[in-house]
């Protein structure tokens, strides 16, 4: 492997080529996404914007290996995840990827601490409790460790979700409308926190939003329309 190839692998964390997704209904086929060529560099922050139904969330789910494309390829950290089976992609997610969702997706039966500990426990980390506590303190929930999601406000739940996403120090973080369920003030606090943690950990951030202001805080922005990058 030449030096330039190594540099390119280090530099580019995600690369897609001719990425497309088509779904078939009973009487027609629908191109949700077509011919997306994308290169995302390490530690870069990228916003994917577009109207509802433009294919933003589909692109995010493909990039994160949650779904499989109909055409094209995706390389994540040098691994062609389109050639992998579901378990292979799960291993990649476990190793490199963190998520923040619009609907928080916390486990309702677990406390804030336990929710944050979970990805570490899955990775057999013996210091799960310590690391999770530190990060929850970092997001300002040091006093709410034992509270369950039902006992937390929306903003607090999203902070737990942020802590869960960052606790494994992922190479890349995917955020799907992270402020979609929050009021603008709480939303802006969450975004501040997201970018602070992103800076601290030098994480690559891929963020789906239709909020132009939020998108502008990212280093780069791509816009989707009818499944195509414009």
């Amino acid at each position: 492997m030449s030096q330039s190839q190594v540099n390119q692998t280090v530099e580019t964390i995600i690369e897609t080529e001719n990425l497309g997704k088509t779904v078939f209904s009973s009487d027609a086929e629908l191109n949700i996404l077509s011919a997306v060529d994308l290169r995302i560099k390490s530690a870069e922050s990228l916003a994917i914007v577009g109207a509802s139904g433009s294919g933003k969330s589909t692109l995010l789910s493909l990039l994160a290996g949650l779904d499989t494309p109909s055409t094209g390829s995706i390389h994540l950290k040098g691994h062609d995840i389109t050639q992998m089976d579901e378990d292979g992609r799960a291993a990649i997610r476990n190793q490199f990827v963190g998520f923040v969702f619009q609907s928080f997706q916390l486990l309702s039966n677990l406390s804030a601490l336990e929710n944050v500990m979970l990805p570490l426990e899955l990775a057999n980390d013996n210091n799960a409790e310590y690391s999770a506590t530190l990060l929850l303190e970092r997001v300002g929930l040091g006093e709410r460790l034992s509270h369950t999601p039902k006992q937390l406000s929306g903003g607090e739940q999203q902070r737990v979700a942020l802590a869960r996403a960052f606790v494994t120090r992922p190479a890349i973080l995917f955020a799907d409308e992270p402020t979609g369920n929050l009021d603008s003030k709480t939303g802006s606090h969450i975004i501040d926190l997201l970018f602070e943690l992103n800076q601290e950990q030098q994480t690559t951030l891929v963020l789906v939003t239709h909020d132009k202001a939020l998108a502008n805080r990212c280093q780069r922005m791509i816009t989707l329309e009818a499944g195509k990058v414009i």
Binding site: L60, S61, D87, L110, P119
Partner: protein, 832 residues
């Protein structure tokens, strides 16, 4: 290891949040019931077997016309078996110029090995129980000996050449049989006096009974060894064969116990399947998040399997403990009926209960759990993505295999297993399809209904497949409860019919034809109701189709035993009560055709004879022939006179005959018997009241035990119905809350829910009775050999009970939709 610890941690967190409650309750019910019933059945079976063994006065008895060689004694000694020996023979006693044929029984030191004797020294009052036989030099006699020979207690009695002192009146011996020797009044002597009587000479007709008792395994070893060493004239006795009236009751009760086990397991299985289904559905999101966080499919399954394994271990341990307490409770309730010494709980039965718990969990919980593996990680973004259901083959295959194994293990009866499974499955599939079709057909009705009815029915029609599976689950539970109820009440009714309160408890034999009229009058005067009088001619079967019978019958067969002695032959124009013709036809009651005989079916089989065969009999020195005109089945367990051979009316003309009858005599009127016996000195009275009392006690015990088991099954059934309804509520609660936000008032919601659940319950209750009746018919016809009658009342009660139970459970379950703010519910349900 780490995965295991993580699974435990997740389990702990789930448990703390109350997520596992329904599942845990279902599992605990399953294990508690199966352990309680398996322990109860096992202990009851062993207690009853010990009690039944009393009827043989030992655990194992070998009869022989000669003494057994010493090697038998040594073998029994090696196996640490206790041994006793009795010899029975007839002898004529002469005292005070009176003459009487008595049944002498000499008994050894340890007789009886099981059960006890009853004696008195003051004529019936003040009976004493003893387990020691008469001392050397003493003799115990039945009261009739005293009256017939004009003797009193303390007098001496010559038995053969030996003078013995009458020390006690014998009122009960456990192993008194209804054969010829037992018919004669009993005289019991010590075995050490036997030789001195000099009654037994070479060629004497003696029956020796070699009795053994000990540990089950040792007895089994001895029994196996004995079977290899028995000669043609020796026989191993068995309570099922030698006491059919008791053996039948015991085997039916055992079958019922087996059936109860299956029923509670089935009920618990339904609960577990429903609870796991709910658990699985509530964990789709968790699985999706775990997948998102990098968990592989197999890891998810292992995470949940570890949790279930641990949950199973916990619930099984607790259930085993509760089951153990439960069966102790059942024995406590039965304490007045059962003997003071009840068999101890067996460790194996405890372990089996535990293993059963694990097996039920695996069979019923694994298929819904496997769905979690199929949850897509994409569900974190798209909530509507539901995993594919597990293959129907897998779901039903797992549960079916498990149920078949359990049924087979409990009943040890392939026929019963196939009957229950086959009958149940076929009816279930047919009924499921019909309900599905009806639900689909009901759709056009919706616009014509009032709003609450429309909403209620819509609840059922929304997802017909789910509705059908819920109905089938409720139906299965109700079927199990109905079966439990129906079989137990029919079993008990059958026993009551078999032994009504005034069942004949005395047999009178040797009544001469010229005595009949006065005998009838005397009975009337004593207020004794007389049953039918049967003529009896003593005769022996000697040839079949002109071939000597001994060349035809095989050794040790019923045929050999029946032809080895005089048979009681009778004639009748009518088919005896409780008999059924299985082949051929009963002769015309007006017929005067001679030489026809009706033969009992088992004897016919053993003698290898069929319709039209010629049988030759000897009566005294005369010989006559008869042709088999029909073959009968006989109920030997009715305690009524029964005959192997019944001839057409004029066939036995000209032979000396006596009459035989049976009657009921209450204990307080026993003195009447003495008066009758005095007047009809040649008449033999066989007193079976003690045997009947003992038999009735056993039936009462079994009846009570079965009733308690029924209550247990019903309780488990209702609990599970409630749990099952609760497990199906999530979607309804969510939709109810949504409707409230849209402006539906509480009354509308309450009514529509009541309608929905009542319909569910009604359909389930109706289906349940159809399936239960089919199964009962199959069970009675193939396995229990009962006569089947439809249970009309249940056709009303079952749908009614289904409607009320499911409606109440459902109403209570969804009540929070009405009482709590809708937003709170929506938030809670959306989280799951």
């Amino acid at each position: 290891m780490n995965r295991f610890r993580l699974a435990l941690r997740l389990l702990w967190r789930e448990g703390r949040s109350g997520e596992l409650t329904i599942l845990l309750i279902a599992l605990i019910i399953a294990v508690t019931s199966s352990t309680a019933i398996s322990l109860f059945a096992d202990r009851l079976h062993r207690t009853m077997s010990t009690q039944a063994a009393e009827f043989l006065a030992a655990d194992l008895v070998i009869t022989s016309p000669t003494l057994l060689p010493p090697v038998w004694q040594e073998k029994a000694k090696q196996l640490n078996l206790k041994q006793a020996q009795t010899a029975e023979f007839s002898s004529v006693l002469i005292e005070n110029d009176e003459l009487l044929l008595a049944g002498i029984k000499s008994v050894s030191e340890l007789y009886p090995l099981r059960g006890h004797l009853k004696v008195t020294q003051t004529d019936y009052n003040d009976e004493k129980i003893t387990t020691k036989p008469p001392k050397q030099g003493n003799v115990w006699v039945e009261p009739r000996i005293l009256s017939a020979l004009k003797l009193q207690l303390g007098d001496s009695l010559m038995v053969g050449e030996k003078k013995l002192t009458i020390s006690h009146i014998l009122t009960y011996e456990p192993d008194k049989r209804g054969d010829f020797y037992s018919f004669s009044p009993r005289v019991m002597i010590n075995a050490d006096d036997l030789a001195a009587t000099e009654v037994i000479q070479a060629g004497s007709h003696v029956h020796y009974f070699f009795q053994y008792s000990g540990q089950k395994d040792d007895l089994a070893t001895f029994s196996q060894w004995a079977k290899l060493h028995l000669n043609a004239s020796q026989r191993l006795m068995d309570v099922h064969e030698d006491r059919p009236e008791l053996g039948n009751a015991l085997s039916r009760a055992e079958r019922y116990l087996g059936l109860s086990s299956i029923i509670v397991i089935l009920i618990a299985g339904v609960a577990i399947a429903m609870a796991t289904q709910r658990y699985s559905e509530r964990h789709f999101n968790t699985s999706a998040i775990l997948r998102c966080l990098g968990c592989k499919q197999n890891e998810i399954i292992w995470l949940y399997s570890y949790q279930f394994l641990f949950l199973g271990l916990f619930a099984s341990s607790l259930g085993t403990l509760l089951g153990w307490l439960g069966q102790q409770g059942l024995f406590y309730l039965l304490r007045d009926l059962l003997p003071a010494e009840v068999a101890n709980p067996s460790f194996l039965a405890v372990i089996l209960g535990f293993i059963t718990g694990q097996a039920i969990l695996l069979g019923f919980a694994l298929p819904p759990l496997l769905r979690l593996k199929k949850v897509s990680a994409l569900r974190v973004l798209r909530r509507e993505l539901e995993p594919l259901p597990s293959s129907a083959w897998l779901v039903y295959g797992c549960a079916l295999t498990l149920i078949s194994l359990l049924i087979w293990r409990y009943t040890n009866d392939l026929k019963m297993t196939a009957t229950l499974l086959g009958g149940g499955l076929i009816t279930l599939i047919i009924m499921g399809s019909i309900i599905y079709a009806l639900l689909i057909q009901a759709r056009p009705l919706l616009p014509k209904l009032s709003l609450s009815w429309r909403l209620g029915l819509q609840g059922l029609l929304r997802t017909p497949k789910t509705t059908v599976s819920q109905i089938l689950a409720f139906t299965m539970t109700l079927v199990a409860m109905i079966l439990s109820f129906v079989v137990s009440s029919d079993l008990i009714r059958d026993w009551q019919q078999q032994l009504p309160d005034n069942a004949p408890n005395h047999f009178a034999l040797n009544i001469f034809p010229e005595q009949i009229e006065t005998f009838k009058d005397d009975l009337k005067q004593e207020n004794i109701q007389l049953n039918q009088l049967y003529p009896v001619v003593k005769g022996r079967l000697v040839e079949i189709n002109d071939t000597p019978v001994q060349q035809i019958v095989s050794k040790e067969s019923q045929g050999q035993r029946a032809t080895h002695r005089d048979l009681s032959l009778t004639f009748s124009s009518q088919l005896p009560q409780d008999n059924k013709i299985t082949q051929g036809q009963w002769w015309d009651s007006e017929s005067t055709e001679k030489g026809l005989v009706s033969i009992e079916e088992k004897l016919a089989k053993s003698l290898k004879v069929t319709l039209g065969d010629k049988l030759t009999f000897t009566v005294g020195s005369q010989q006559f022939n008869a042709r088999i005109s029909n073959i009968r089945s006989v109920k030997w367990d009715t305690m009524k006179p029964n005959f192997y051979m019944v001839f057409s009316p004029s066939t036995l003309d000209g032979y000396a005959k006596t009459y035989l009858t049976s009657f009921y005599l209450p204990k307080e009127n026993k003195n009447s018997l003495n008066r009758l016996v005095k007047k009809y000195s040649a008449m033999t009275v066989l007193e079976v009241d003690a045997i009947l009392d003992q038999f009735k006690t056993i039936l009462t015990q079994l009846t009570q035990a079965i009733n308690y088991l029924l209550y247990f099954a019903l309780l488990a059934g209702f609990t599970v119905l409630f749990a099952a309804v609760y497990a199906s509520l999530d979607q309804r609660i969510y939709e109810g809350a949504l409707m409230r936000t849209l402006g539906a008032n509480r009354a509308l919601l309450r009514n529509s829910h009541l309608i929905e659940f009542s319909l569910l319950g009604f359909i389930s209750g109706f289906l349940a009775i159809v399936i239960a009746e089919t199964l009962t018919f199959a069970l009675y016809y193939f396995a229990l050999k009962f006569e089947y009658h439809p249970h009309y009342l249940l056709w009303i009660l079952s749908p009614l009970a289904g409607t009320i139970t499911v409606a109440i459970a459902g109403y209570l379950g969804v009540n929070k939709v009405i009482t709590q703010p809708p937003m709170k519910i929506l938030r809670t349900t959306a989280d799951n």
